[in-house]
Symmetry: C2
Subunit: 413 residues, 2 copies
């Protein structure tokens, strides 16, 4: 075992995207991550997409490489076990990630009675503690109003749960920052943040708050155009759609050169008395530019210009649906060392991603298939809580814990 976070143990009580993604990201950097769920599975146990057998592709991928423990948390002994797992000793343990709102036995104040240097991170909906999900935060802050076809009044929400994905990665950073502090000063802490605040902060970071409140032009939908410089989608002669980028001066000059549109672009400049070397001017006059470029693409199949575009180092891509992307793109196959094709139990055989981060001091860690719900219950009760086989057997017999593998792990050992 040699990975950036090898030796760290993190406990996760979670559901849906952000917090499971945080734990999975840590697991893929080498941490031991124990996710606990109620018996039968938590709120996301059946989250779509699901396989025909009802198992959730979503749950499987979000929990790969973790240890899964299933506990009846209505039972006082179950609560006690979760408390023991979260607060188990170890210099590199005592870290807990959650988005479950459990007051009392599972809150920071109570848990720190059992381990005073606990690091706990909680993701809330909004800062007031009200429920919020990506699907509500996003419309509330305005992004759907600038998404979609130019001129349309219909708001379009993103299909990617972007705020969740950002929040999950932010939770990883918050954990590592808090653990760095604990390592040096001995003190754990409680870290809280809200999904809505993650989005609200980004509104500021992207300059939208300052622009909007100081009299900037109203930000309108611009279809698939790149905002603020040049970038546009075009339909090609073979029916394919491509995106071409002229954000930087180098990209723009390259695009004009390869498409042989220097003279036509110069005409736009002289007609309007403008300089397209300025990126904002390219955005303001993007329709003129697009009119010039459209015939180039309308007359050519992608295969007619792909080599020239690559040779010139242009920044561009084709539009694809998931099926086509997965069929055509080697970056989504084992050709990409980030992926390993795995037999995922009961789900099928397909490429599974590891961490995008490539650490030179550690070999790439191949992705580990997801656990069955509760698969590590016995192991964790033994190794982390320190129970005897007899005590563990009593818990299984009493229905306080569950595992589809009960008995197999110890018998094999």
């Amino acid at each position: 075992m040699n990975n950036a976070l090898t030796g760290m143990r993190i406990v996760e009580g979670s559901a849906f995207v952000a917090v499971p993604l945080a734990g999975m990201t840590l697991a893929q950097m080498g941490a031991e991550v124990i996710r606990f769920d109620r018996i039968g599975g938590g709120l996301d146990a059946r989250r779509w997409p699901v396989a025909k057998n009802g198992l959730s592709h979503f749950w499987a991928e979000m929990n790969k490489g973790k240890k899964s423990v299933a506990v009846d948390m209505r039972d006082p002994r179950g609560k006690e076990l979760i408390t023991q797992i979260i607060t188990a000793p170890g210099k590199d343990a005592g870290m807990f990630l959650t988005n479950l709102k459990v007051r009392g036995w599972m809150d920071y104040e109570t848990l720190t009675k059992y381990r005073s240097d606990l690091i706990m991170l909680t993701l809330k909906g909004d800062r007031h503690g009200r429920p919020a999900v990506d699907y509500t935060v996003n419309p509330a802050l305005g992004f759907p109003a600038i998404t979609g076809p130019e001129g349309s009044a219909e708001p379009v929400a993103h299909a990617l749960p972007a705020w969740d994905c950002i929040a999950g990665n932010m939770m990883v950073s918050g954990l590592l920052a808090a653990e760095r502090h604990r390592l040096r000063h001995g003190a754990g802490q409680n870290v809280e943040f809200a999904l809505k605040d993650v989005a609200a902060a980004m509104l500021g970071h992207l300059g939208i708050i300052g622009d909007t409140l100081t009299g900037g032009a109203k930000r309108e939908k611009c279809g698939n155009a790149l905002y603020g410089a040049y970038g546009q989608d075009f339909i090609c002669a073979d029916g394919q759609r491509v995106m071409v980028i002229g954000l930087t001066r180098r990209q723009w000059d390259g695009l004009v050169k390869v498409t042989g549109t220097q003279a036509a672009m110069a005409q736009i400049e002289s007609r309007h008395g403008i300089d397209l070397a300025d990126e904002g001017t390219r955005y303001r006059f993007r329709h003129d530019i697009t009119d010039v470029l459209r015939p180039y693409f309308a007359k050519r199949a992608v295969s007619d210009f792909a080599a020239a575009f690559e040779g010139a180092g242009l920044t561009w891509s084709v539009f694809r649906d998931f099926e086509t992307a997965l069929a055509e793109d080697p970056d989504l196959t084992d050709d990409n060392p980030m992926f390993s094709t795995l037999d995922v139990p009961d789900m099928g055989r397909f490429p599974v991603p590891g961490s995008p981060l490539e650490f030179s001091a550690h070999p790439r860690q191949a992705p580990v298939a997801p656990p069955a719900l509760g698969a590590h219950t016995e192991e964790v009760l033994g190794d982390v809580v320190g129970l005897t086989d007899t005590e563990i057997a009593q818990l299984f017999d009493g229905g306080v814990v569950q595992s589809p593998l009960y008995g197999t792990a110890r018998n094999a050992a």
Copy 2:
């Protein structure tokens, strides 16, 4: 100074969203972050949105709380200064973030000659080193094909640079993980990752790869509906649009109860022989559900049901544009402790976000206004590189470095 990362020094040579966001995020957790640019500014110095005076709101926000250094990197002495800044001694220094592709003097191999335990993180376009931006990665992998109105064949790209925002936060995690390793084992390292891989991995993490390659139903556009359970937008009597969520059982039951649609939902169930308690069934029969709920909203203004929805703890929101959100939502004002209204030099006065993360062991760090380009050149040359006033004066005189504040910092001290 008491923040999670106080004492850390990180150097950043960057442009656009992801890497500047990474540095800014670290600065807002207490790290000293030095961003260097060429004289006159880098590739993102004029990135939109821009103020009427031409200054970039984007650049300002992405660099708040950083120290800015402006150096002529075509000059050999300029290259040497950047090398010295990146590799300056200090146990908590020697960390470098970049998305600039500079071979030779600024690559990992060369820089480690000056500091062997350097930690360097590089974000590439794709894994092959080809250029890629959020605007090209996103269509290539298929998300625009599932975004937008149901039944439409037109792909819709997101307006939020989501992959960049995710990659930036992932860079923070990668840095902290590598620094944790260095703290324990003394060894720095080179960490690389690609924007396209960040998106490709997420395609897997969300279960889309497994679903698509094992014969799942083709993922289609579903407008603003929540995928896989129930969630839908409705137009209200006052013309406002709301999003209501019935993802979990509790949310769904609450929505049906508050809208008084139990009987109508039971009719759907008996008509089709289904059970809407199953989340996937709610998605498959979402149009029937929506038909039942539509009149409820069509007859009511938001103010007619808002209190009841809040009282029942429903998960819902209104759709707003940026202007309305900023005018109406206290979460986007100083009422939210994450924001501080600042006078940003030459940009205006508006709420500026700090870190969403609230660390109990550290007071909230108020956001720090962005630097003018090169504002800390003199300070960094003195404090980090260790040059004398005479040496610094020669560099300014020779045009190797620049600062709008040259002389003022030292004179004030």
